[in-house]
Symmetry: C2
Subunit: 229 residues, 2 copies
Amino acid sequence: MSAQRTSGRRPKGESLTREAVVREAVRILDESGERGLTVRALAERLRTGAGSIYWHVNNRDALLDLACDTILSECESGEADVDGDELDAIRSLALSLLDTLDQHPWIGLHLPRSTGVPSAMRLLDRIGTLLASYGVPADRQFFVATAIFTYVLGVAAQMTRSALTVAATHTRDEWLAERSARLAELDPQIYPFLHGVAAQLRTHDDREQFVTGLDLLLAGIRSQWDSVP
Amino acid sequence: MSAQRTSGRRPKGESLTREAVVREAVRILDESGERGLTVRALAERLRTGAGSIYWHVNNRDALLDLACDTILSECESGEADVDGDELDAIRSLALSLLDTLDQHPWIGLHLPRSTGVPSAMRLLDRIGTLLASYGVPADRQFFVATAIFTYVLGVAAQMTRSALTVAATHTRDEWLAERSARLAELDPQIYPFLHGVAAQLRTHDDREQFVTGLDLLLAGIRSQWDSVP
DNA sequence: ACCTGAACACCGTTCAAGT
DNA sequence: ACCTGAACACCGTTCAAGT
């Protein structure tokens, strides 16, 4: 069916679009990470020359921005209704964002380096709006919104690291066991804490870890500002 | 005095050391960011050939790890005494860590991609130890420690972005004004929140922003677990 | 033990020339 | 308007050969 990777030129008339370029870039990023995305590799998979890419996209960085933006846009639309207050809504927004970032690990590493991703700003905006209506004082809303957003991105970036190493080793369980073993090997003199907790990290769940920190932030908000209905 | 950048070979007998290589790498990173650090540029400043670098360091990634590690090691040693409980100690540790990351903005962007930075692990260990002695339950200590550490790195990475843009524009005030203006220009239909807060961001202070989120995390910890003395 | 310098296999980006 | 393909100016890394 798909003549995707066969070389030979693409049929005439059927011209490339910016969307098609970005879509294929996302596929490469999912398969082989940021390092796998080279202009030449992308061009080859689109059965065209490297130069063509630059007709549709300014440069490689812009391409990464666009790739992030398309994925995050999908995440935006799927906002479920929540019963509970605004902080519960933020919680569920953050969780679905984490799921998205988990499926496309390259986003968490690229977003901190970039400014040009509108959908990321819209997500930040959404969090800020929710905080405002919850009752966080006006002069704190932006700081708190950014803190939450930063936390989500930070955890996502960290998860990426494991995702890449898992891919390199065999299964996720194997990787967890190996990491736990490596921590246990640490000199308890220098790493008393990490050496000690090594055992429980055999069953470490990224999502559970994420929720712990997120709920601390939300608990902090609740303890500092009561809801204004 | 310094014949630093003059070309010509380095005197014999005076052989390069791994420390000297890393020290010069840090200088380049401080001056021109991660992209500025190329093996060739580094070799030239050390008045040697590109190949020599690989005698002292495995590869470019290892060099970045080492650069991060030397800087974070310095941060580690300068731990001030604090009056207050363990959470106050964490707070001051986080603040001094942020200062370090602020002076070397490339660290915040590289650390999430890396695993091989011992001093970063020691800092995480320190946070965990403090949480344990504060009284966070054993099965939460690691998650909470990671949440705090992730938050610090995340904010640092974000600050880096502004640091780089500030360097590109003129002064910090100009940059703040410009960013505030850009936010004000946003379509209030799509970005109701960000459009609204644009004005107060003219005096936005990274450190104040950082403290806001950090204190929320700490308040969350206090509200969930009372200190066990 | 430590360095040299050339070579290899790549990059992103540009641009005249084509259709 | 959209694409081609060669060229430019770089990369990181390796490695025989030197001292």
